[in-house]
């Protein structure tokens, strides 16, 4: 019995192989202690500093100085807050402790700042798009019948929604097989070409997305003479997504434990079976995350689509001919117009796009976030059922043999 098994499983006289799973603490690994925790005095200091900084800020901005502006007020109040907090802690602590506490506040405020920015970006888009988002026709109408000055109750962005879905599906069809196969090539074959391919793929992740669009514009549209279409845009987006997917899938496959591969080889499996039945299933959740995050990047890309898809205001379900519009491109074209109604539509389009990305992101978090080889409860159940079936099959075979 190996020491990796936990006590109850080790105690059971079992003939089956048991996968070493995580049982609380990692075996033999080091665990970080939790340090810190907030004391009452710190909390009081924080609140006191915040209150007095607010009051001083209000006094300065409201009464004393002829300065105004929300941003200025926030900055001044924040500086005051840090100074007062430092002063309060300095009254009872040694210098290293004061530095420690003030730095903790500074680090926390960096995080708060970025979260405020995130919330403000999302909330502002939803807020400015709220009127257009409330109209049902936004989701099932296109802009062919609505003029620029028409009210929001007329016309919608169904053409952009459909366009985005078609483009991203085509891009998925192009990139997922190629990207995963290439990642398998980089990891599973000991080819000398793998090094070159890996560095070229690394280099291409640096390709500015507009150059992918320019490349397709110059070859597909100008040299080969095809018209601007959804397909051209999908190819441009694919060129941009491919290195991203390959790179993150490569990282995920590298995390598959080598002993699983060796166990499979020791059982006599040929390499392709090892890849098909051991490596890929082990890395499944990570691969799904890699693909979904690649899709989220591809969905939001405006620049390559701008160059290759053309622009239309009518619904076009054919990616092979005629211009097609995606959500980011529609947003960009809407807000470039001076008409307030169109700008409102632009914000609503951006909000729809953002919600789409948000949904994908949440799906990616649910699927992924688990290291290679660790399975969720339901997956474990399914695996157990399958392995019970295998045992039955083996037993039946043995009975037949004797």
């Amino acid at each position: 019995m190996t020491t990796l098994l936990s006590a109850p499983e080790a105690a059971r006289p079992s003939e089956r192989t048991v996968l070493p799973r995580e049982h609380g603490a990692p075996a033999g690994g080091q665990v970080r202690r939790a340090i810190g925790g907030v004391q009452r005095q710190d909390l009081l200091n924080l609140c006191g500093a915040l209150l007095s900084a607010l009051c001083t800020g209000l006094l300065l901005f409201g009464r004393l100085a002829p300065i105004s502006g929300a941003v200025g007020f926030v900055i001044v109040t924040y500086v005051l807050f840090v100074a007062i907090y430092a002063l309060l802690t300095w009254m009872e602590d040694e210098r290293p402790a004061v530095v420690d506490k003030v730095m903790a506040v500074l680090l926390a405020s960096a995080t708060v700042l970025s979260l405020v920015a995130l919330v403000s970006v999302i909330a502002f888009t939803l807020w400015r798009g709220r009127e257009a988002l409330g109209n049902v026709n936004l989701y099932h109408d296109d802009m062919s019948a609505a003029g620029p000055a028409d009210p929001l109750s007329k016309g919608g962005i169904s053409h952009a929604i459909l366009g985005t879905l078609i483009m991203i599906s085509l891009a998925l069809v192009l990139t997922v097989p190629l990207g995963l196969a290439c990642a398998v090539f980089l990891n599973e074959t000991r080819s000398r070409a793998a090094g070159i391919v890996r560095s070229i793929v690394d280099a291409m992740t640096a390709l500015p997305s507009i150059l992918a669009g320019l490349f397709i514009f110059a070859t597909w549209i100008l040299v080969l003479g095809f018209e601007r279409s959804g397909l051209a845009a999908s190819i441009a987006v694919s060129i941009m997504m491919l290195p991203i997917i390959i790179r993150s899938a490569d990282v995920v496959l590298r995390l598959v434990p080598g002993n699983l591969r060796e166990a499979s080889a020791a059982l006599g499996a040929p390499q392709w079976r090892t890849v098909r039945h051991v490596v890929l299933p082990t890395a499944r959740s990570g691969l799904a995350t890699a693909v979904i995050l690649g899709v989220a990047r591809g969905l939001g890309e405006t620049a390559p689509v701008l160059l290759t898809a053309g622009f239309t205001s009518t619904l076009n379900a054919n990616p092979l001919e005629g211009p097609m519009v995606s959500l980011p491109l529609a947003t960009f074209e809407f807000v470039r117009s001076p008409q307030p109604a169109l700008v409102a539509r632009g914000f609503a389009t951006a909000a729809v796009l953002m919600l789409l990305v948000l949904v994908l992101f949440v799906v990616a978090r649910i699927l992924g976030g688990r290291p290679a080889g660790r399975v969720s409860g339901r997956q474990a159940q399914r695996l157990a059922v399958r392995s019970a079936k295998d045992v039955e099959r083996f037993d039946a075979k043995q009975l037949g043999a004797t």
Binding site: A104, F185, M204, Q271, G300, V357
Partner: protein
């Protein structure tokens, strides 16, 4: 047990053993698998190389006519034969530098907070939120910058220009600090505002790489610092930051690479101008990718070749930045964790 003795085996008698030649004959499925995956790898290689080679080939036409003056000309009039990347490339670099210098402290602070300070139970939520920031489409950031942020930040721009105009960077021509009623339009659409918006996009990338590196700091060294009486910040200063230096530099430069290539958010904010301008608060700026987005449709064949030359210059720049970043990360102690 006196008599039993272990004897070492003497030298083997007879002919020395010769290792067998092992002939591996992969089965059909494996041969298909190996060939197939090699073919896919080469296909990807071919696609990627085709993009690079085609761009250089097309750009060569424009570069041949201008020669070295391509790097020094600020104008962009390809049909008159006067064009160069001096203005757009410096504009791109200025925006990216503003973005990185704003994003660096914020991302470093957030990464340290998430990895070292935040309670365990909030950690994964915070990581998710920062990753979400990276997933928000750039056009959304552009809208936010152009419609909300620009109006709010003008006061700060004006304040900086009023009090710090003796620093050449903050000088604004056309702004009169003594006139409180002067228009604020001289501060709109500036490099600074575009840089702040790009900083929002760059920050999560930098933050996730740095956080990854901070979480790899050896527990033993951490505990050693605490055992010597360090406070938490003391531990961060003497253990975490030195350990993660490679990751911090690498993450920052990867962010820089991303900032250089940003198109649509910059396009929504700046108003294009074609001179070399280091006054970051002044209205108007330019970048290579927004130049391409603005000019590709009306460009002639030669104009397109000129645009590709500009794109190639940008690509070369991002390549250098990215490879330098990987080199930094690979050579540092924390190098194992550089894949983001």
């Amino acid at each position: 047990m006196a008599t039993t003795m272990t004897t070492l085996p003497g030298p083997p008698s007879g002919p020395a053993p010769v290792p067998r030649a092992i002939a591996v004959q992969p089965e059909l499925g494996d041969r298909i698998f190996t060939r197939g995956s090699l073919a896919t790898g080469l296909l990807v290689l071919a696609i990627m190389a085709a993009v690079g080679l085609f761009l250089s080939f097309e750009a060569a036409q424009a570069l041949r006519t201008t020669g070295a003056s391509f790097l020094t000309t600020a104008e962009w009039q390809p049909d008159r034969g006067e064009f160069g990347v001096a203005a757009v490339l410096t504009g791109t670099i200025a925006i990216a530098l503003v973005a990185v210098s704003i994003a660096l402290p914020v991302s470093l602070g957030s990464a340290l907070f998430i990895a070292e300070v935040a309670p365990e139970r909030f950690r994964s939520t915070l990581v998710g939120l920062v990753d979400l920031m990276a997933a928000v489409p750039s056009v959304v950031y552009g809208l936010w910058g152009a419609y909300l942020f620009q109006g709010q930040i003008l006061g700060v721009s004006r304040w900086l220009a009023t009090w710090f105009s003796w620093i050449p960077l903050f000088e604004v021509s056309g702004a009169d600090p003594t006139d409180p009623l002067s228009s604020e339009t001289v501060f709109t659409a500036s490099t600074f505002i575009a840089g702040v918006v790009v900083a929002l996009m760059v920050m999560p990338i930098q933050c996730s790489i740095m956080r990854e590196v901070f979480s790899q700091v050896p527990t033993g060294e951490r505990e050693g610092a605490f055992a010597l009486g360090a406070t938490r910040w003391g531990m961060i200063r003497i253990v975490s930051l030195p350990f993660a230096r490679g990751g911090i530099i690498g993450g920052t430069m990867l962010g820089l690479g991303r900032a250089l290539g940003e198109t649509i958010a910059v396009l929504l904010i700046i108003s294009p101008r074609f001179d070399i301008n280091f006054h970051i608060l002044e209205a108007g700026s330019n970048s290579v990718s927004s130049l391409i987005a603005l000019r590709y449709s009306e460009a002639s064949g030669f104009g397109l070749s000129a645009l590709m030359a500009a794109g190639l210059a940008l690509f070369a720049l991002t390549l250098v930045v990215n490879f330098t970043a990987s080199a930094f990360v690979a050579r540092s102690r924390s190098g194992a964790s550089s894949e983001a």
